[in-house]
Symmetry: C2
């Protein structure tokens, strides 16, 4: 049950080569399916490798070949559903390219991002996919100097380093404002996260305010939270806000989870949704598909973003560009059941 204490020397190509009676080079060729090897020797080598339980050393291989099959994927968090989704679409798209994603998490901290980036670049990946276009100067410099394709994802509002794939959160907020106003709501509250480093949420709010301003409307109330279960926070904040501003007729949430919390609170309290009170979130989380009342939301194209980013890194992008590609996707509004139809 316990792992053996004995420190027998780790296996190398040489061991396989000796066991199969061919040169190390030939073993290497067999194991990589590269170059010409006769079926007979191939078989011999594979057998020996298997019998010994040999696992190639990619560290040495990467050093010698100057090639690494890793792609760094740097995201702020794994604990909400949005980034895992992107990640899995990256992963799927990379599936048979020989490339492998490696994840780093920054917790929305620019300093942590810098550290994670440094750490990852020191493994010389063949590409970087990184969330957001805001980075410390040092991070930008590292990305620029790395000499590898870089794709900044999620957000196109800003100056990219190399390629960019995402949506305009500013315009997403703006469109949501327009839709809400078109539906006849006028006293609008905003509920979001207390995270100065969540630039995308910030841009949505800015765009949202801009959209309201065009119609001569100002945000009637705002409420922010940090930490805790988003669903519960959505509840609490909604209660707080509606106690404070009972005349509101719409609540815009910075994400679907707190939106769902708010929705549940409204339903529990017999509030007429969407008649007296409209609600909307952001992200298009399919996690929430099972709610009896579907929350209005905006699809953030997460899967598509991951896919496109992976294509750019793997050189399979449609465009055939060699870098500097900017792809802006169009988020679609899903009015669900919480915005009244006109």
């Amino acid at each position: 049950m316990s792992r053996p204490i004995e420190t027998r020397r780790p296996l190398t190509l040489r061991d396989v080569s000796e066991a199969s009676g061919v040169s190390e080079m030939t073993v290497s060729r067999v194991l990589r399916n590269r170059g010409d090897v006769s079926d007979a020797t191939r078989e011999k080598v594979l057998q020996a490798a298997k019998a010994l339980g040999y696992v190639p050393n990619k560290i040495a291989g990467a050093l010698a070949s100057q090639r690494v099959n890793l792609v760094a994927v740097i995201i702020p968090s794994l604990s909400n559903l949005v980034f895992p989704k992107v990640l899995s679409s990256v992963s799927d798209e990379l599936e048979d390219t020989g490339l492998q994603p490696v994840v780093g998490v920054t917790n929305y901290s620019p300093e942590k991002e810098e550290q994670v980036l440094y750490e990852m670049l020191s493994w010389r990946p063949s590409g970087v996919i990184i969330a957001g276009v805001e980075h410390t100067p040092a991070s930008r410099a590292m990305l620029q100097n790395a000499g590898i394709p870089v794709v900044e994802i999620m957000d196109v509002d800003g100056e990219g380093i190399d390629s960019v794939v995402g949506i305009s959160h500013r315009r997403a907020g703006l469109h949501m404002a327009e839709a809400i106003i078109a539906a006849g709501y006028r006293k609008i509250g905003f509920l979001g996260t207390k995270m100065p480093e969540d630039h995308r949420a910030r841009k949505r709010l800015e765009g949202f305010k801009e959209g309201l301003a065009k119609a001569g409307i100002e945000l009637a109330d705002t409420e922010f939270y940090a930490g805790g279960s988003a669903l519960a926070k959505g509840r609490e904040m909604t209660e707080t806000m509606l106690k404070r501003s009972p005349d509101l007729d719409f609540l815009y949430y910075s994400n679907d989870m707190i939106g769902a919390g708010g929705l549940l609170w409204c339903l529990d309290n017999g509030i007429d949704v969407p008649g007296k009170m409209g609600l909307a979130g952001f992200n298009g989380l399919e996690l929430l598909d099972g709610l009896s009342v579907r929350l209005a939301t905006m699809n953030a194209c997460r899967a598509e973003i991951g896919r496109k980013a992976a294509q750019i890194i793997s050189g399979r992008s449609q465009s055939g560009m060699i870098g500097g590609e900017v792809i802006e996707l169009e988020p679609t509004l899903d009015p669900g059941d919480t915005i009244r139809k006109r």
Copy 2:
């Protein structure tokens, strides 16, 4: 905006050494904070490295030193909340050990697990944390031969390879059965995933049946699903099952998400919970804290599991053992609002 085409030679220690007028070795020492270097040269070197934008090459470093600061973490999925939780607690615990987790995802496929393991071991990590105790013979062999600490997590029901940290899902199911029976429920249905490879869900069900059997009760009905939004599936399955077996008085769900879906369906349909109908899930997802009715569940100790596993890998385990450690944690029942009190 586009990354430079120019292929200037990548920076090496030699570049920094030339720029700062000392040997490569001294630069190496400075950059790793190892050995004696005078403050003056240290400063000189750091400045040169920064100016050049040098990022060390860990591939070469690892090959030379035969040390790699990576810990492979192999899990079935990132798209439910349970593994990200474990992952982040591993990550936190490893924070200042110099070790870095690297994630691999198997999608509950033993073959994929084998591939991912092979790939990861080829980078010669200094430890492996892997979900479950069921692996292909080849995977087991690789883990045994790797000569590094291995921690199998989540599940202690089975034969481990080296160290094991988890709970007994069999006993978790059994305890849930006992609690349900003690609360007076008798006609019990089970709703779960159609995943033969989810051994933990299977063991919970087995333990659950065993618990019922002790009281002379059999499962009255079962329903399974695959794919889709768990919340929505929970709804659908609940409806299906209650149409088919209207006399049921308890529904046991294999996870909290489908449980929550079922709970919402019951509430929407005016079913008296927990009076006429009891419900329970599994996992203790804090995500669901915001529901108006708290689903009965069982805490799977996810954070604790991640922490202990990381401690074993980093050699900071309390026990001081050198491997072969088995830690069984005790899941706690949270009756929530969906099991009636006696």
